[in-house]
């Protein structure tokens, strides 16, 4: 059985993160208070998904079945232009230093997760190969 994860990400097209309406800080991972000013004024807001791949790993032994369809499973650490660092499922052929676009997609088990798309032309092919769907709103 594929696992259910509590990513707390909304079903939104593109990238949506917690924006502090008090100090303007973009927060990730998801939290209840702004990490910068500790204000209780976080609202989900669409943000630019542009970022740079800081590091990549290819996992041979995932603990959950969700990732066994395509091994090794590649994930990236991405520094977003809007500030935070996020882990994301990484499109093949994207390497360290590459520019990517981060967005929210839904996996087969219904989890909303972050995907890092490199080459735009082949991105949807990749997502359908791993049975992820882009969220249309």
């Amino acid at each position: 059985m594929p696992a259910t994860f509590n990513t707390a990400l909304p079903s939104v097209n593109g990238l949506c993160l917690q924006h502090c309406s008090k100090c303007g800080h973009i927060n990730y991972p998801v939290r209840e208070l702004c990490g910068k000013c500790l204000g209780d004024s976080l609202v989900w807001q669409n943000v630019d998904g542009g970022g740079t791949v800081q590091s990549v790993t290819a996992l041979h032994y995932p603990l959950e079945q969700n990732f066994s369809a395509q091994l090794p499973w590649r994930i990236a650490s991405v520094k977003l232009d809007v500030g935070p660092v996020a882990f994301a499922h990484l499109q093949p052929d994207s390497v360290c230093g590459a520019r990517i676009t981060l967005s929210i997609a839904q996996d087969e088990a219904g989890n909303n997760v972050l995907v890092a798309k490199g080459d735009k032309d082949s991105a949807s092919e990749w997502l359908s190969a791993i049975k992820y769907t882009e969220i249309r709103t």
């Binding site: 696992a3 994860f5 509590n6 990513t7 707390a8 990730y28 991972p29 998801v30 800081q54 590091s55 990549v56 790993t57 290819a58 996992l59 041979h60 032994y61 995932p62 603990l63 959950e64 969700n66 990732f67 090794p72 499973w73 994930i75 990236a76 650490s77 520094k79 660092v85 996020a86 882990f87 994301a88 499922h89 360290c96 989890n111 997760v113 972050l114």
Partner: protein
């Protein structure tokens, strides 16, 4: 910024390591209580003489340190539970030392202990923290292997370090483990060819870069030097110790822990330089983290640890810088939070000449480093201490 007061008058005694195996039917409380019993026996004191207890464990729940007082039928006047993973030992030592200096306790038992069952590692990883649950585990469910693989890859890209450089650490630690009987992998030799030929786990991390989860207990007693001398115990003194948490939060990938923020002051407080360190125990959950400690604690410049491990012998008897002299976690096993006490307990053995087959000759000073708590993408706790053989 104010600086930590002196740790003078404090003695670390009776190092105990026990119970190492892959899995156990016993609970964490068995490991912690067994360490306590062995330490009391070694010190020649009664259980009632211990009036403080500091404990670290990932597998103690639903019990806590206060419940252990009843389990072990002890009346205590000082308690501490330290959920700081690989930094737990140094942090327990720092807090217990202040308790004894201030009269809040006379003898504190500092113990890390964890049990291990099939599947317990997965449960720990899958529910480690709220950030990890929402932002790390859903991305490949690789646990610490994934986070550290990305740190390792970034470190290699940035510094030019190679797999063979990490192998220097793993291979020399295996040699040390072959001279320390409790080490779980001590009976399996590891050559550089073996290291390089290992299967890939999470690129660029391969099998011998990963620790083996296991169970076990580690501990020491902390008391005044006067008490240690009255009891006729060999002891170790603390020259300096410090800690930082969530240092350099804006670094996109962790290529330094908190050590650079306090290492200069650490040596200044200790009154010795890095050249006077006779042995080093780093927290080696992955070789790259030991490299960050070599750099952060001044053994080499940032980014130059690969050169350092290529040009310095790291075995206990190699004449260079003896490093992780009991094999560390990489060759001994990672017994949960006990792994955060392993280097400290081994240093106490070394500086009281109670190591058996892996004794470093003429060791006077040891550096012990701790690192722990991978909340999301990096270890948040960094700590270190400089220890000195007791007496004049």
């Amino acid at each position: 910024m104010s600086q930590p007061a002196s740790y003078s008058g404090i003695a670390l005694v009776t190092p105990v390591s026990l119970g190492y195996s892959k899995v156990s039917e016993h609970s964490a409380g068995w490991f912690i209580g067994s360490v306590l019993r062995e330490m009391i026996d070694a010190a020649g004191i009664g259980k009632a003489d211990v009036d403080g207890l500091a404990v670290s464990s990932f597998s103690l729940a639903p019990d806590s340190v206060s419940f252990l007082a009843q389990h072990y039928d002890m009346t205590l006047r000082w308690l501490e539970q330290l959920p700081f993973g690989g930094a737990s030992g140094v942090l327990a030592m720092r807090r217990a030392a202040r308790a004894v200096q201030c009269g809040d306790a006379d003898i504190v038992a500092c113990i890390g202990g964890d049990t291990s069952q099939a599947g317990s590692f997965r449960d720990l990883v899958a529910n480690f923290s709220s950030f990890s649950n929402s932002a790390s585990y859903p991305y490949g469910s690789g646990g610490p292997n994934a986070a550290f693989a990305m740190i390792t890859q970034r470190y290699m890209d940035k510094t030019g370090a190679t797999r063979e450089d990490f192998g220097q650490l793993a291979v020399s630690q295996r040699y040390n483990a072959q001279h320390y009987s409790p080490a779980l992998l001590g009976d399996k030799p590891l050559s550089m060819d073996d290291y390089l030929a290992a299967r890939e786990i999470a690129s660029p991390v391969h099998l011998y870069d990963c620790v083996m989860p296991c169970c076990g207990g580690e501990g020491f007693l902390l008391m005044s030097t006067q008490r240690a001398e009255d009891l006729g115990l060999d002891y170790v003194s603390i020259l300096a110790a410090d800690e930082r948490h969530n240092a350099f939060p804006d670094d996109p990938v962790q290529l330094r822990g908190g050590w650079p923020l306090f290492s200069d002051q650490l040596y200044a407080s200790a009154g010795i330089g890095v050249d006077s360190i006779d042995l080093l125990q780093t927290y080696d959950d992955y070789p790259v983290i030991s490299m960050l400690q070599l750099e952060g604690l001044g053994f080499c410049k940032p980014g130059e640890a690969a050169d350092f491990v290529r040009s310095n012998a790291l075995t206990f008897d190699g004449g260079g810088l003896p490093h992780n002299t009991s094999g560390g976690q990489l060759s001994g096993g990672q017994a949960g939070a006990a792994a955060g006490y392993l280097g400290l307990v081994e240093s106490i053995r070394q500086l009281t000449d109670s190591a058996v087959d892996n004794q470093v000759a003429n060791a006077r000073h040891a550096m012990v480093s701790g690192y722990g708590m991978i909340n999301y993408d990096r270890g948040l706790c960094s700590a270190a201490a400089i220890l000195k053989r007791g007496g004049s």
